[in-house]
Amino acid sequence: MAVSSFQKKTKHGIPKISGTRPSLRNSQLLISTGVPSLDYFIGGGLAVGTVMLIEEDVFGAYARILLKYFISEGIVCGHSLFLSGGDVSPTQILQGLPAPISDNSAHRKSEPESRQVGAEPMKIAWRYTDLPVVQPAPAVHQFGHYYDVSLVMDSKLMQQCDIETYDICEGSTESPQQFSGTLLPQPYQMVLYKIWRRLKKGNFLTSSNPAQPNILRIGIHSLGSPLWRTISDSERSSSSDSPMFKFLHLLRALLRSAYAVCVVTVPLHLIQDVERLRFESDTVVKLESFAGSDKEMNPVFKDYHGLFHIVKLPRLNSLTSFIPETKDLCFQLKKKKFAIEKLHIPPDLSETASRTNKDPVVDKISHKLIGCSSATKIEIDF
């Protein structure tokens, strides 16, 4: 008997995990960064098994907020978490997580009303009474949420999650686990060990073939800050950054075969060889905040808090990487949204330049002119 060679194509490669979606481009599994606009600009989200590097702004404040969003998103989606750092203790970061803005409260109010309507027998469109009421998609399957930075995440929600923290400063006072030989200098080795143990025990490795795979979100705050440095490693090699590159490469090797994503923030001004750091990570974004810089006063940027640079996007399973529409991006932290937008100059709507009076930069220039010449303003007539 001839059997048709046609077979229904079944998607067995990608398991279904909450808070994930497959990429449209290369069938990679993606998770949200917790900032929907950032997801959009980096091609849908972070691919599972990759490392994202956030190059911190000078004060590190906005990078920390991005990291918090990443963790909050994990808690809302029910992912497992691992958080490490030294500059700010991980428990402190966990205490200050932003709370998700739930759409459910709005739905709940409307529900009883619709039932009341349904209870009344319909007179005109009676055929439709039997139709089920359309339910909005449950929030659990939503990809990417918005958070309110003014509210703190409910501790009950956090207790449901599997969260592990490792403070490198506390860790140094404990006696670290000893291994024969050294793979990495101390804080790095311990962090890598904790991550490796977590991946193995939590069945996050793809080789373990878990029935119900979950995602492990790893957050590392201020990697490479002075607290990560030990005396011994600066003596041994000329470049004190070298253990960091090794750590990142080993971490990437680990994650490539695991259901895990790592976000690392790095204080850029403390690092000598930035390019190599970028070579060793998959996605790289850079925050440049206006706080304390001349740009703060610039009228062009008055609506924004800083510039957002996409430095590198990963090439995964394909020759090309995602190319965003534009690379001129800026960010603005609102109460309920970390908005990343295309940078555009506000339109000058007024016909005559009445703006010059309000324009702080022009004011500044004209003040300088007073100092060096008697003419206050040079008017050019056409």
Binding site: F179, L183, L192, Y193, K246, E280
Partner: protein
């Protein structure tokens, strides 16, 4: 296989033999398309390939090759592709290290203690693969050794001298009577003196340098960058073209003649 690129590299008719080709990129560009092209070029001419992947997983190479019409996993079964899977070996090393097992026979054990000749193990594992090819029936054929990123060796803690020695040893593997081709990729940070010195030393012993640079004027939607090919053996020449990598192909064009400009 990218026909444009092969014509440009002059390897569409006869495969490079007894040649050491260095492929580098700067921080604004990516040279992996040249490496993928080399793998599929050799495999399509039924020449065996030894792949040493340190930067990307084998799955990545498999998926890209699928788009170019080759099933690498099948080729591995046929014995035409021998793989030294760096990422897998690093994983195994981490595992055995943390479980306090002996991991000295791992080719990547050099990352634990940097001593002299520390990359020897990695070289020996590549040499073993070459000997496996010698024993098989495809004796007279050309073959390819491809190391995807030498700069990762440096990141993993190997010193410049060790990397140079390692590459010279690998070079000796293709100069034996059967012949072969060595392709080594790497990312170069020109601000860093250390990696610049390393690049100069390696390119000195290479026969062909393929340099991929991003555009100096910034990113463009229609042009990915410039490709510079410097021939150092045979006829000496230097050629520059601009390129654009697409999903399944690469377009090359003379400088300033991309379709968006004309």
């Amino acid at each position: 296989m990218f026909s444009d690129l092969n014509v440009f590299l002059e390897c569409e008719k006869n495969l490079p033999k007894r040649k050491f080709i260095l492929v580098t990129n700067d921080h604004r560009s990516d040279s992996s398309f040249v490496l993928h092209n080399m793998i599929s070029l050799f495999l399509k001419n039924s020449c065996p390939v030894i792949l040493v992947n340190i930067a990307q997983s084998f799955n990545h190479y498999h998926n890209v090759a699928l788009k170019l019409g080759i099933n690498l996993k099948k080729v591995v079964e046929e014995g035409k592709l021998l793989c030294v899977d760096g990422l897998k070996l690093l994983n195994a090393l981490i595992e055995s290290y943390f479980e306090e097992q002996n991991c000295l026979n791992n080719p990547f054990s050099f990352i634990m203690n940097c001593r002299e000749h520390s990359l020897m193990e990695l070289y020996l594992s590549i040499k073993k693969k070459v000997e496996m090819l010698d024993n098989s029936s495809t004796k007279d054929l050309n073959f390819l050794i491809l190391i995807d990123d030498f700069s990762n060796l440096q990141s993993l803690g190997a010193s410049n001298i060790e990397v140079i020695n390692f590459i010279n040893y690998c070079h000796s593997l293709i100069l034996r009577k059967t012949g072969g081709c060595l392709v080594i990729g790497g990312s170069v940070d020109f601000d860093d003196e250390d990696s610049h010195v390393l690049l100069n030393c390696i390119s000195h012993s290479s026969d062909t340098c393929i340099q991929i640079n991003g555009l100096l004027t910034g990113q463009s939607r229609d042009v990915d960058g410039e490709i510079t090919v410097t021939e150092k053996s045979g006829k000496l020449s230097k050629k520059i073209m601009q390129f654009k990598v697409e999903e399944k192909s690469v377009r090359l064009f003379a400088r300033g003649t991309c379709s968006a400009v004309l």
